[in-house]
């Protein structure tokens, strides 16, 4: 597999130069994680610096490979790096290798850059935590796994990274595991993710059964000849995996609880990178979804439902991190919707993922900065008027706020608007349904994000008496500023000339201009009107009117949204209780039936054993007699038989 042909005829060449040391991307942070975990207390003093340096080193390697890639013409930017023969079982051979193309490179840069910034931020945020070394080790483990996930050249290797990020996420959500609620949150994320992982594993098994291979190139080559049913099944199973990792409906319930982890973790893993792995999986598997319109439609539905679901939940949350989590869910819904639209959406899904990575990470860090200054208070009803005391946080958060709203020329405008536009492309009922969902979602987003922003930074002070808010140290605010700059201009730079979609085009296709069912200028105007209405509503309710410290009863919808639209109750009623009854039943059957049979058999064997044992009486004469009897019996029987 020295070269492989992708759908648009791009030649993948064997890695040379910087890209041939692409394995360093994974190896450096992995070494850091291992070193800090094995090194123990000896590395307590300087371990976090080592982890941060290694993360930046990975970024440097990634950037160098990126520059090398830019030096080639667009058709020759894809590199394949063979690592080693991984599995060789009979006719099945699998090499572990890395695929450095435009898609994975976008992720590499996002993960290493934002990840490194968050390492820096954490130096300040975790300065007084006794387990700081362990925290940084897990962060490095996460970066390594995430890079392995996006660089893998086969679904199986991707799965290794997939589980690696899951492990890191689990460890970091439950980082303060002495608090039972946090430990439970970690377990919840773990269990829900298992459901998704079953989907991914089954998809890989199905690929092996249908195509006999699990590397991207061979699966892609085989899709054309496989039966439609199988391809759809594989697509839906991949979608299930993506739903678990990306907190998409119906596996979204874990993300809110995952906010139990330290805030930098929420920023990096549960906003900017890991939760977007599902989108990556769908886009990377574009050739499967292209071959199965049904699977693709399912992706669209999941995306549309989640984007509205998250937006509605976000309107009612008073916990700043949970509101941001709901918003993450909703934004990933946008990406998923775009990915479900096919080649016209893939590039914009990744584009939005990138800009979202910046502005959402920036806002999470801002939230962390607020918590840092407010004695770890997360209830927004206890905030208010922070703009005066935390100027830097206010401005940087404001940039992220404008970006997610999609106000031009901030980053979100360039990516989200394109998704809304793409959702309106097509025939029949689909553009109207998905387009309207995306459009309405933008309005709700404007409302709940403004609500969050106003409740935190504007209005009257509602602080408890014992807090003295203050700005965070530079080591925390500098990363926030860098991300704020990204939130402000990244979309403009990459979007105004369609630079990013063009960059991705050799991998994901697209390019041909499609016309939405409504004129795109009208759409843009409509979106902006809705956004302004959302902001205005929030302004009236949360700046003009006083915000009560105790949450009011609220409408039925608000009450439902506060408990995440009853998702936990549904899960409990639909899965947990029947599951408990099933396991109880199984335990009963096991005890009475299986154990009874096994116990009986064991008693029989034991009884036989003690009876036969008496033959072993210790007398050589009876041993000799046994032998003789054996000889006579054998000879006699054989004589009779023959």
């Amino acid at each position: 597999m020295h070269s492989l042909i992708t759908e648009t005829g791009v030649v993948t060449q064997a890695a040379t130069g910087v890209s041939s040391v692409g394995w360093l991307l994974v190896a450096l942070p992995l070494f850091g994680a291992a070193f800090l975990l094995v090194g123990g207390k000896a590395t307590d003093k300087w371990g976090h610096h080592l982890a941060t340096i290694l993360s930046w080193a990975a970024f440097v390697v990634g950037a160098a490979a990126f520059l090398q890639m830019l030096g080639n013409d667009p058709e020759h930017r894809s590199y394949h790096l063979r690592l080693f023969d991984w599995i060789s079982a009979g006719g099945f051979k699998l090499e572990a290798g890395m695929l450095l193309d435009q898609l994975s490179m976008s992720f590499v840069l996002l993960v290493t850059f934002v990840g490194s910034l968050i390492h820096v931020y954490s130096i300040g945020y975790m300065a007084h935590d006794p387990n700081r070394r362990r925290f940084f080790a897990y962060l490095n483990l996460f970066v390594a796994s995430m890079l392995l996930l996006v660089l893998a050249d086969s679904y199986l290797l991707l799965f290794v990274g997939w589980e690696g990020v899951g492990l890191a996420s689990y460890l970091l959500i439950g980082f303060w595991y002495t608090n039972p609620a946090y430990a439970t949150a970690g377990n919840k994320a773990f269990v829900v993710n298992r459901v998704g992982d079953i989907g991914l594993t089954l998809a890989i098994m199905a690929m092996f059964a249908v195509f006999g291979h699990v590397d991207f190139a061979s699966v892609q080559a085989g899709v054309g000849t496989a039966s439609k049913g199988w391809v759809t099944a594989i697509g839906l199973l991949l979608l299930l995996g993506a739903c678990g990792k990306s907190a998409q409906f119906p596996l979204q319930s874990w993300l809110g609880d995952a906010m139990a982890g330290p805030t930098p973790v929420s920023a990096l893993i549960h906003a900017a990178t890991m939760v977007t792995a599902g989108v990556y999986l769908v886009v990377r598997s574009g050739f499967i979804f292209d071959a199965s319109p049904d699977a693709r439609l399912a992706v669209c539905f999941v995306g549309a439902i989640t984007l509205l679901f998250g937006a509605i939940v976000g309107c009612a949350k008073d916990d700043i991190k949970k509101a941001l989590a709901a918003s993450t869910m909703s934004q990933i819904g946008y990406m998923m919707l775009a990915a479900g639209l096919g080649p016209i959406g893939y590039a914009f899904a990744i584009f939005h993922l990138l800009t979202h990575g910046f502005f959402k990470a920036g806002m999470f860090l801002g939230a962390g900065s607020v918590m840092h200054g407010m004695n770890n208070q997360v209830d927004m009803r206890r905030f208010g008027g922070l703009a005066t005391v935390m100027k830097i946080t206010w401005v940087t958060f404001g940039f992220g706020w404008l970006a997610i709203l999609g106000v031009p020329p901030f980053s979100g405008f360039w990516s989200k608007d394109k998704i809304i536009e793409a959702a309106f492309v097509g025939d029949g009922w689909q553009p109207w349904v998905f387009g309207t969902a995306a459009l309405v979602g933008a309005g709700i987003t404007a409302f709940y994000m403004s609500r969050l922003f106003f409740m935190t930074f504007q209005g009257k002070k509602r602080w408890s008496d014992d807090v003295h808010p203050h700005e965070s140290p530079l080591v925390m605010t500098v990363p926030m500023m860098v991300l704020a700059v990204g939130s402000a201009v990244l979309g403009l730079i990459l979007g105004v000339t369609d630079m990013f979609p063009t960059w991705l085009e050799p991998v994901v296709g697209g390019g041909a201009e499609e016309h939405p069912v409504i004129n795109k200028w009208v759409l843009m105007g409509l979106t902006l009107v809705l956004v302004i209405v959302g902001i205005a509503l929030a302004y009236v309710r949360y700046v003009r009117e006083a915000v009560p410290v105790a949450p009011p009863k609220g409408s039925l919808l608000t009450q439902a949204a506060r408990v995440d639209l009853y998702q936990d109750a549904v899960n409990e009623g639909l899965f947990m209780r029947p599951g408990i009854h099933l396991t109880r039943g199984l335990v009963f059957t096991d005890r009475k039936g299986v154990d009874g049979a096994v116990g009986g058999l064991a008693a029989f064997v034991g009884g036989a054993s003690s009876r036969v044992r008496r033959l072993q009486n210790g007398y050589a004469r009876s041993y000799a007699l046994t032998m003789l009897a054996g000889v006579v019996a054998i000879l006699g029987v054989m004589w009779v038989i023959n």
């Binding site: 064991a602 064997v605 034991g606 036989a608 054993s609 003690s610 036969v612 044992r613 033959l615 072993q616 210790g618 050589a620 009876s622 041993y623 000799a624 046994t626 032998m627 009897a629 054996g630 000889v631 019996a633 054998i634 000879l635 029987v637 054989m638 004589w639 038989i641 023959n642």
Partner: protein, 526 residues
């Protein structure tokens, strides 16, 4: 009549015999080393005798192994007038035997805190408990003749699978057995039990040798030769009135050999002897005697008796099934660790017989892989048993092992791993070895092969229960006595256990190279 007699004399006596010295050099080195060892015993000063003997024995074995691996491989041939056949299986098994006996010698040389080999009595001839014995112990006497005896026994074992005729095979059988009879009686502790074991082993061994000889005589009468190839070629061409001699002859020879592997119903000696013998010797017997005897069984079954196998197959299949069932069922109620390992070795012998009965090259390689893998594990197992003590004597009763995991996690962990290997859990050599013998039995053994494998798997489940129960005993039961301790072993035992356990793990994870080697070495020269 005289013509018959002339042709019956082995060809070796009638013509100048050509010897391929490179091919038999490993064997000669071990024999020579044993003789020098006897001289060392006679002339070396008492104080340095133990060290000298250990070093000399190890040197001999290593030298033999080096020559075997380096030169003998290129000299596969029949030599010594056809009496010795150096071919793939011979070389593989000789190499295995040498490697295993190096580990076994390391465990035999263990002194623990004492002056001499810990497992062996200072004076074998003294009456147990007599003043004479006490005086010998005071005088610092030692039975370091155990090492030349081991070398002699190893030489017999190496000749056993290489034998090209039944007389050579019988000589090899006796050369390997006689030193073992003595070694079994030299335990330092519980000497009466040790003497009893020695005597029983000797009596029953002599009994089984008689069967072997009787069988050989019948085959001689049938074919007019003791040469394995001649017996094979006569099988279809003999006079019809002699046909009734063939089957009893074959069966009796096989019975004589199956005694050595402890197949049921010729197994009764095994538990008593393994229990009474010095623990390192039990390990040596379980590993090396089995490997050598299976080599001999493979040799006769595949080169001399394969033409008539449809007549005698059923008997060996019945023995294999009986061996698996009795070995595993009886291990359930054992209360003594050494007896338990003895019954476990019986069950294992049954599993290996399944592979032998495949009558295919894969069966040969599977059998050889199994005995190699099992040998490595069982030597480590007996070495660990020798380390667990209560008031100085070996704590072999199961109740003494309770709670071992609490106070001695490393030793208990190692032993638990060994037990898992015996049970055939994946990632240990036990699993790959079972697969290696069961797979050819299913593919080439016909319906009987499938039945044997099903019974084999069921018996594995029974033995797994036994092993896991010990693991539970070690980890989840409160210690019964505070006096049970683990002696700190010298580097020698440590090396033996470490090598055994690591290879048990390695052969479970990457069995490829050794399986390939066994596969390449599975062709007999006729």
């Amino acid at each position: 009549m005289s013509a018959v007699v002339t042709s019956a004399v082995p060809a070796a006596f009638l013509q100048a015999v050509k010897v391929d010295y490179w091919a038999v050099l490993p064997l000669l080195i071990v024999l020579g080393g044993a003789l020098v060892g006897v001289l060392v015993e006679a002339f070396a000063p008492r104080r340095s005798r133990h060290t000298l003997q250990v070093v000399w024995t190890l040197l001999t074995l290593v030298a033999s192994l080096v020559v075997l691996a380096g030169w003998s491989r290129g000299h596969e041939a029949k030599t010594l007038g056809g009496s010795v056949v150096i071919d793939g299986p011979t070389l593989f098994l000789q190499g295995t035997l040498l490697a295993l006996s190096i580990l076994a010698v390391l465990t035999m040389a263990e002194r623990f805190p004492g002056q001499d080999a810990d497992a062996f009595t200072p004076m074998g001839a003294a009456t147990p408990g007599s003043p004479y014995e006490a005086a010998a112990a005071r005088a610092g006497l030692t039975t370091s003749e155990i090492f030349p005896l081991t070398l002699l026994s190893v030489a017999g074992m190496m000749l056993f699978p290489a034998a090209g005729d039944l007389i050579t095979m019988f000589v090899a059988l006796e050369v390997l057995s006689l030193p073992l009879y003595i070694m079994c009686g030299l335990a330092r502790r519980r000497r009466l039990l040790s003497h009893e074991a020695s005597l029983k082993y000797f009596l029953l061994g002599a009994f089984s040798s008689a069967f072997f000889l009787f069988g050989a005589a019948l085959l001689f009468a049938y074919s007019g030769s003791l040469d394995l190839v001649t017996i094979a070629s006569t099988t279809s061409a003999a006079a019809p009135e002699l046909n009734n001699l063939l089957l009893p002859g074959v069966l009796l020879v096989l019975i004589g050999l199956m005694f050595k592997i402890g197949a049921v119903p010729f197994h009764s000696w095994t538990p008593d002897v393994y229990q009474g013998a010095p623990t390192p010797v039990s390990g040596f017997m379980a590993a090396c005697t089995k490997a050598a005897a299976f080599g001999a069984i493979l040799r006769v079954a595949y080169t001399a008796f394969d033409g008539s196998r449809w007549d005698w197959r059923a008997a060996v299949i019945a023995v294999a099934i009986l061996t698996m069932v009795v070995g595993s069922v009886l291990s359930v109620t054992q209360t003594d660790m050494k007896r338990l390992l003895a019954y476990s070795s019986i069950a294992h012998a049954g599993f290996v017989l399944v592979g032998v009965m495949a009558f295919d090259k894969a069966g040969v390689s599977g059998t050889m892989f199994y005995v190699a893998a099992y040998g490595l594990t069982v030597i480590a197992a007996f070495a660990v048993v020798s380390m667990i003590r209560e008031n100085g004597s070996e704590a072999t009763h199961l109740s003494q092992w309770a709670g071992l995991g609490k106070n001695h996690p490393v030793v208990a962990g190692v032993f638990a791993f060994i037990l898992l290997a015996f049970a055939g859990i994946p990632l240990t050599s036990g699993f790959t070895a079972k697969y290696a013998v069961f797979a050819p039995a299913v593919t080439d053994g016909g319906r009987a092969g499938v039945i044997m494998v099903i019974i084999g798997v069921l018996c594995s489940a029974i033995t797994a229960f036994v092993y896991v129960r010990i693991i539970i005993l070690m980890y989840f039961t409160e210690p019964s006595s505070e006096d049970v301790t683990v002696l700190v072993p010298s580097p020698m035992t440590t090396i033996a256990v470490t090598v055994g356990v690591l290879l048990t793990f390695a052969l479970g994870v990457v069995p490829g190279p050794v399986l390939d080697l066994a596969g390449q070495a599975s062709q007999f020269i006729r």
